[in-house]
């Protein structure tokens, strides 16, 4: 009896063949998912300051009732010397360790920390808030939306 010719386009529907294909397809799907995850992580890394949240002045009035906020001024030292939020400590990346000493002295565990810089366009408050959390493991750190400008413009 002549052997049956095999159609190259035919699909093998035998048990072991189906199993092998299923494994191969699962492997390909897994590989695609891993590649997608790597690409996503590469182009969209989680923000390093994920735990430092922006806060508005209005929120500070409602969220910290009865708590003594530790204000951190991240503006240049000359601006801080001229005027700052009462009780604020100066902490800038211009002279990080110098400012840290003053921060540590004023800080107490559990006290909310709000960092501000000049205005909405400055990024110093976010950087300082991020470093406080990353380097000192301090929690409850926020950066003020609108910074010093919003403080000055708030009617009192």
């Amino acid at each position: 009896m002549a052997p049956a010719s095999r159609d190259p386009t035919a699909v093998d529907r035998s048990g072991p063949g189906l199993f092998r294909r299923a494994i191969a397809q699962a492997g390909l799907l897994l590989l695609a998912a891993v590649v997608a995850a790597v690409v996503t992580a590469w182009f969209h890394p989680p923000p390093p300051e994920a735990n430092a949240r922006e806060i508005t002045l209005a929120q500070t009035r409602t969220d910290f009732v009865g708590e003594k906020i530790l204000w951190v001024d991240a503006r240049p030292s000359a601006a801080f010397s001229q005027e700052h939020i009462p009780g604020a400590v100066w902490l800038s990346e211009e002279a990080w360790d110098t400012g840290l000493a003053g921060f540590v002295e004023a800080w107490t565990p559990g006290r909310p920390v709000i960092v501000y810089c000049g205005s909405t366009s400055c990024g110093a408050s976010r950087s300082v808030a991020r470093r406080l959390m990353r380097e000192l493991s301090v929690t409850g750190v926020f950066y003020l939306h609108g910074g010093w400008q919003s403080w000055k413009e708030e009617p009192r």
């Binding site: 990080w96 540590v104 002295e105 990353r134 493991s137």
Partner: protein
Amino acid sequence: MALSASSAAAAAPLVWEQTDRSVVATPGQETATVVYAFHNASDHPVQITSINTGCVCTSAELAKDSYAPGEKGELKIQFTLGDRVGRQERLIHLATNDPASPTVMVRLVVDIPELAVVRPRLLFWKVGDALESKTAEIVLTQPEHSEVLEPKSTSAAFTAKLTAGARPGLYRLEITPTSTAETVHGVVHLPAVFHGKSRTLSVFVAVK
């Protein structure tokens, strides 16, 4: 014809060789200076009316404000590193008197390597806590060019002990308070040498 005339009118008059620049700071570097070259590709003079660097840490310098057709210019940006570490991005906004392109933005990214990673930099005990040691980890990122020396505490209320870790450049700084009866602050200084230059690392300690 009308389309190409419109395109020409909308084209930016100042053509920049590069608007995005990235540099890596070397150990001990204090400022990063980068020059952005441009030329006026239009048929009329263009004036740069203002430059906003967004930070006192970043200065901008132009030899002149107004550029004739075809004239070349250079914008020099100087970024003062201060105590910053990691990736620093600065966006510099220029305003011109040209209605087709009233604003121009150039970007500077400076990567500042952290020669020593100390975590955490604050160790604290609550008043009344047990006299237990707490530890900060020190990682020298370029151990072949760095070393740390014996720690010194600014306060007698804390003792400090430095031990080398399992691999080169890894250290553990163990700090113990002598009393937690009352509030006290201090700093443990770690003299260090990076690429032949002395620097002091600090760990802040407190009983609160």
